[in-house]
Amino acid sequence: MDDGRDNSFRQAVRAETLRGEKGSRTGRPHRTDDLRQEFEMDEHRMDLAALMDYMQSSESHGLPQEDADARLAQEGPNELTPPSAAPQWVQIAKTVFSGFSLLLLIGAILCFIAYGVEFGAYESPPADNLYIGIVLVVVVAVTGGFSYYQEHQSAQIIDKFKESLPQQALVLRDGEKRRVLTSKLVRGDIVEINAGDQVPADVRIINAQRFKVDNSCLTGESDPQVRSREYTSENPLETENLAFFSTYAVEGNCIGIVIRTGDATLIGRIANLASGLDARQTPIGREIERFINIVTVIAVLMGAAFFIASFAMQYDWLDSIIFLIGIIVANIPEGLLATVTVCLTLTAQRMASKNCFVRNLEAVETLGATSVICSDKTGAAPAPPQSPDWVALSRCAMLCSRAEFKAGEEEKPILQRDCIGDASESALLKYMEWCVGGVPEFRRQHPKICEVPFSSANKFQASVHVMRERGSNFLLVMKGAPEIIFDRCSHLLVDGREVQTSDQWRRSFLAAYNELGGQGERVLGFCDLRLSADEFDERYEFNAEEVNFPLMGLRFLGLISMIDPPRASVPDAVQKCRSAGIKVIMVTGDHPITAKAIARHVDIISSRSKTAEDIALERGVDPSHVDPREADACVVHGSDLAEMTSGQLDELVRTHRELVFARTTPQQKLVIVESCQRLGHVVAVTGDGVSDSPALRQADIGIAMGLAGSDISKQVADMVLADDNFASIVTGIEEGRILFDNLKKSIAYTLTSNMPEVICFLSFLVVSIPLPLGTITILCIDLGTDLAPAVSLAYEEAESDIMRRDPRNPRRDRLVSERLLSSAFARIGILQAAGGFFTYFVVLSENGFWPRRLFGIRRVWDSEGIVDLEDSYGQEWSYYQRKRLEYTAHSAFFASIVVMQWANLLACKTRSNSLLQQGMWNHFLSFSLLFETGLAIVMVYVPYLNQALQMQPLRFTWWLPAMPFGFLILMYDEIRKLVLRLRPSGVKNNWLDFLESF
């Protein structure tokens, strides 16, 4: 990985041009320029004394506290500004002035205008319009406030998560060392950084002892980088005297001066770049917007059409406006957005209990729509290697490993103890402690005299230890890349005997090496040499710089291989993804062979599928002769990827079911994600490093690791996995899919009652009957009785095939499809309207107005001056008696919709199962039926409340006429589902498919 550093940025440029071909989004092309600007920082070039001067700091005393306070006040805290923090009022305004809310506001304004006109025209104007206008404004305010509150709540989930990780730094101020919060650091502070610490800001190193940093979160490479006080390169990322904010110190310690803080740091710049990528609309967001558009268009068109028609029918323009308002209110499912929000919140809570925390609620559904997951090594953890138990080898390994156990964890099981040191050193230490034991004690007995550190140039690490035996005072131990180690050896230890190296031994060595390497294992070679007492007496001065001891002609001891084993649950999870039609793409920085082995191991490349190389091996031909389309799996090297055009990459992604990208840079991860998105996939990306953040942002859903993830990755992610477990993603996907299904059920349920509402206004206008359902009553349904059952559908259990279906095709499987609309409006909605009108006619007839008397009566009925309107029995009704009758009819219509919504709820409960098969185990749903009914009873019967809602108490018998129609709805729907179940399977274009629920 020694070349990764330069390449990562070179490939960023390449990736840029690659994207440039297809026209990039705004803001994107500046990225490389911005990074180039980063190259031009010069703090690393300056003379240290000059820098101290410039920062007005001193190495021995640090900054005076007052100066630090002043700088903190001036330059702000040392924190990254979280992306996208629109002011609260903007967020509130957004919810109020968009979608339905806007339409309802227009309705309210029309009401006020109508009232204003009436106020001017009449002495005592009817307050109806004023009242409805106020109610509409309240509805808008309440739903707006509600959705804002929900958004606020879900943002707090993540905020809490972040707050739980406060960072402190060791700072020299006023000449004494203090622990201060990282956020309080300022330029010029002298900080001390020890192994295991996170670098608290961008730091120029003053003094370092074997200091190494892990820049993987910045550049994506995992090998620790040496840092010292030396200025070694123009490039700030290359030079050894800079350490960057949010990288980790893995070894040694250093003292440095803070040169940049907060957003001015390199990471801050990258973070800003990441936030500069436009946040994409979530699929559910798109769906809801589309749905709002559909409903808005229907409402506006219908409203406009009947507004014009009512003019043509020579209605008063005031009446026409009232029709318009009624049609708008009836068409809009006012409670639906609240329902959707609650459904999302419930699912988010359920997911949080399964260790998935979501940043925004919509992300829950996005996860369900996911068709591609770009993942790295799928949650690796170090575990002990396997090797033959040789005393010499174990001795060597114990002394070679540079990792140390963290103090104070002696009680813990070995494998769970934390280590200071990189992953392979730690694995080695744990292994030795596990199978030999007493490593720290052994090391104390044989102290290290001298060390040649590992470097990417020599690829080995050697040290000299005190060990008195067989005429020798010192033991030289060495470990490193196996082939390098083998080349340095003249002997091998075989069954306790020393043997000369030979070509035969070399072949068997290579075979063993390849075998281990091919299993996805990282292999280290070990060798040692007793330094004879003659040459190296007890007082011999070893010098690591000049190397005054032999490093050739050593004794080869053996190989130790290590693997990052995936969690046991991962293969299962990958398998689940596959049966759910989700492509899992592995994108890793590992070597292709390792990557392929891991992929095989976790089933990302399944046992059946073959890469082009496998096919070639089988047929005994060169891989280049195999048609890549024959292979279903493919392992792509980062450098090959860099050569591809976007079209070639798309082709690659399209034609291969199973893909592994190895030796990739973080920027290439972004390219891969974009390619999948071009192909219409909904892409989930997992990541933990800072360098992953652009890819996380670009992804439809970015998933950060809660334990291993850096702050920035959590900040840009849509979801945080608290347990870093890949399997949690699958759980999340399932939840997301259930949510989408249940949302459809909810919407189908809610939309249905809009049909009778609209028909009421239409019949009022067209056949001039007294209004069957008032505007306020409509709101009572949409925002009252319909809410609880609609929400309860969110608790509906998954239908059995949920994880065996293909992912939702975002272009075709819409939240609101024409099937859902035709079912809700053209069939069940019409049935409900019939039941409602039947009830309406029953109530009016029982009181004297037969249906035929009602047609055309509207004008007389609604004029206040007529106080003696005759009914079918010659009785004469005054205006207020008629209105009382009308409000009773509204209440009865309302009650009939409540009754028929029971049936509709049971019908919406399942997609294709019979109610008898599914049962009534959703207790929230059963409860919501009771709640809905109770609420309706309260609305109808509680004095004053019913007056405020323009309702009248109902006779018990007036609840009954709708019941046959409710029964009809249930019967119809059961028959429909039966037909669909009996329908010959496999016939895709069966004309009956229009009967599907959604």
Partner: protein, 315 residues
């Protein structure tokens, strides 16, 4: 789930994988009519026809069910000769409203005319005439009407409530006849008050000396009281207040006419209100209130058991 199925899951559908390069409009037209497959809006003609047949059957069945249910209710539950809900069960709640004529414009309660100028009151007169004609028509076909004998204000029920009393307009309202344009020509306009018919309603009088529904009209405000002048009721009854000895004149709706039981040829009793010396060129707001009834709830807000109109006579 077999291995094969798992693999199928990954086979990309062309439509899914290949982003359409056609413009949205063209794609929509293509959706409307696809030349290759002959599909209209994503379905073949046959498929559409079947759906059409489905909906025809669906809606026919629904219409049949609806009509059937309604017929069962209309013919099985309701009866012709009396409302299903009467008395306190009816939303009328036995509280008859008070109507008036002329009211040529239903959205207005203003009676405006110029005395002696026929064009200005033609509509008003025609409106009363309409009511007059309905009373006249009965006299033309007496043979269908079972007329009761004793219909005097003081006569007792004769046990034959299905016979009707005959309301003789000419005799009861002698000053308000078509002949004199109901008084509008002479500047002494008539306003005819009518008590709303409610099935089975009987007056429950407070004062047994006049066991009728009484009506009393006055100006709404003190200024109106001054302008309203002398108001005469036809038919009228004068009652002396036992406590004060004050004598008040009321119009009355003859109790012998009640109850209304949907009798053929039933005509409710009327009271004429005659303004003898209305102040000209002044808008007078008149309020008429039912009196002497226990079973009537007066409510000014809901305008129950009262009538309210404005009269403006120009000269």
């Amino acid at each position: 789930m077999t291995e094969d199925n798992q693999h199928e899951a990954f086979v990309p559908e062309p439509e899914f994988e290949e982003p359409s390069k056609v413009s949205r409009c063209a794609a929509f037209l293509h959706f409307l009519y696809n030349k290759q497959t002959g599909k209209v809006m994503g379905r073949s003609g046959m498929s559409w026809l079947k759906i059409l047949i489905f909906y025809t059957i669906f809606y026919s069945c629904l219409a049949g069910f609806f009509v059937g249910m309604l017929s069962v209710f209309m013919y099985g539950v309701l009866v012709d000769n009396q409302p299903h809900r009467t008395g306190d069960n009816s939303l009328l709640q036995m509280n008859p409203g008070l109507g008036f004529r002329p009211q040529p414009d239903m959205s207005s309660t203003l009676i405006e005319f110029t005395a002696g100028k026929p064009g200005s009151y033609a509509r008003l007169v025609a409106n009363i005439q309409e009511l007059f004609d309905t009373y006249k028509r009965i006299e033309l076909k007496p043979e269908q009407v079972h007329v009761r004998a004793g219909c005097q204000p003081d006569s007792k029920p004769d046990g034959q409530p299905f016979k009707v009393c005959k309301f003789n307009w000419t005799r009861e309202l002698p000053d308000c006849l078509p002949a004199n344009d109901f008084g509008y020509a002479s500047g002494q306009p008539c306003v005819v008050l009518k008590l709303n018919k409610i099935f089975g309603w009987l007056p429950d009088p407070v004062d047994e000396r006049a066991p009728h529904a009484l009506v009393e009209c006055h100006g709404e405000n003190p200024a109106d009281t001054e302008s309203i002048g002398d108001v005469a009721y036809q038919p009228s009854v004068s009652l002396e207040n036992n406590a004060t000895g004050e004598v008040t004149t009321y119009g009355f709706f003859n109790q012998a006419f009640y109850p209304y039981l949907k009798q053929i040829g039933y005509r409710a009793p009327l009271v004429a209100l005659k303004f003898n010396n209305l102040r000209p060129n002044t808008l007078v707001m008149v309020e008429c209130v039912l009196r002497n009834l226990r079973n009537s709830q007066y409510s000014k807000v809901d305008r129950e058991a009262m009538a309210r109109f404005e009269i403006l006579m120009k000269k």
